[in-house]
């Protein structure tokens, strides 16, 4: 039980993606313009990661070594398709906003990385805890980055204005260059905190 908890917790700080594990940068840059998109993406990734970790862990003794990557990708792609269809049915505006980045969860290196490095070697319960932890950690990072960018870039938080009407938003932050600079500075802050 203690180990399950430890596997869960490590994704929240010790190995939090994308700051500690520098993987999965594309969605981190692309969907952090607004907080609600970031949360949607975080939930989608958490779901896919937990489910794929469970399935891969269950199948880990049956998958031949040579074709394991292809098998992992099929499992991940199946859950991504589920997310895509569910989101299309129940939250169409979010589906439109996340757009191409939902199918692209398949090639998010975090998922394949966890499958390869963790789920294919550990039993189901630990893999589930690991998937959940890393997924929530990823969601938290997206949330932090998105709140920073949305508050300063649009002057809103969850689409509610936080500053007075005289506030001039730094629109640089919500454009493509701002995403890179913001994430770079965030990594820098994490490096300072690590010491």
């Amino acid at each position: 039980m203690k180990r399950v908890f430890r596997e869960f917790i490590k994704g929240l700080w010790e190995q939090i993606p994308p700051f500690r594990l520098v993987l999965g940068l594309c969605p981190t840059l692309a969907v952090t313009k607004r907080v609600e998109d970031a949360i949607g993406m975080g939930i989608a990734v958490t779901f896919v990661l937990t489910c794929s970790n469970i399935i891969i862990s269950l199948l880990r003794n049956f998958i031949p070594k040579q074709v394991r990557i292809a098998c992992f990708i099929v499992v991940i792609a199946t859950f991504v398709t589920i997310v895509e269809l569910v989101m299309q049915a129940f939250n169409y505006p979010l589906y439109l906003k996340l757009g191409i980045f939902i199918p692209l969860i398949v090639v998010n290196c975090i998922l394949l990385g966890r499958a390869e490095a963790f789920a294919s070697k550990n039993s189901v319960i630990y893999s589930a805890a690991d998937g959940l932890g890393i997924g929530i950690g990823f969601g938290l990072s997206l949330f932090t980055l998105a709140s920073f960018r949305e508050i300063l870039g649009y002057g809103t938080f969850f689409n509610i204005p936080v500053f007075g009407p005289s506030f001039k938003p730094f629109s640089f932050l919500v454009k493509a260059p701002g995403a890179f600079v913001c994430l770079g500075l965030m990594l820098c802050i994490m490096n300072i905190l690590k010491k």
């Binding site: 999965g24 199946t78 090639v107 493509a176 995403a179 770079g184 490096n191």
Partner: protein
């Protein structure tokens, strides 16, 4: 003809896959530390992306669409890309060893390069015909290569500079990418 020129320019510069659409950033930061690896990766991407674009277009329009299986798009595309990459690798190893030497180690990495799957999906979403798909895949790949090579050159210079400790490596890389992206931003007004 004019349409195709506009498509080429918009795919290479205005909608640059790396700096404007944020696709393929993991290899962008991963292999850009040295010029040689960046050039190798850029060439491998051009090679695979054109083939993947063509094959996925055929798969979508002649297999998925007639049987109303569009919801299997993600699953089938990633499988097609993964097997294509494997196939290309085997073919090159056997028939063109010189090229394999150059591209070899970058090929497996391409399967999880989101630029490849991303461009294939964009091509389908935009409703391009076959020729447009080829042109756009090629131009996106060239845009990827261009950004990667430019970035690698800058990064080689950064190695000589004194960077504050917390900013080192990926962190300064991302800030630099931001500056590069800012310069690509200037292309936005080129086509209305």
């Amino acid at each position: 003809m004019g349409d195709y020129i506009v498509l080429v320019i918009s795919c290479i510069f205005i909608n640059n896959i790396l700096l404007m659409q944020y696709l393929g950033n993991c290899p962008f930061l991963g292999v850009s530390k040295r010029m040689e690896t960046a050039v190798g990766m850029a060439m491998a991407v051009v090679f695979v992306l054109v083939m993947a674009g063509a094959v996925t277009w055929v798969v979508y329009h002649y297999i998925l669409k007639p049987y109303e299986l569009e919801y299997l798009r993600t699953l089938s595309f990633i499988l097609v890309i993964a097997s294509l990459v494997q196939f290309v690798e085997m073919f090159l190893k056997k028939n063109i060893p010189a090229l394999y030497e150059g591209l070899g180690i970058y090929l497996p990495l391409i399967t999880t390069n989101c630029a490849v799957l991303g461009v294939c999906i964009i091509n389908i979403k935009e409703g391009y015909n076959f020729l447009q798909t080829l042109v756009s895949s090629f131009s996106y790949a060239v845009g990827f290569g261009l950004a990667l090579v430019l970035f690698a050159a800058i990064r080689e210079r950064i190695l000589l500079a004194r960077v504050p400790k917390p900013l080192q490596d990926t962190s300064i890389g991302l800030v630099t990418a931001g500056m590069l992206s800012l310069s690509f931003f200037a292309f936005k007004g080129m086509i209305h």
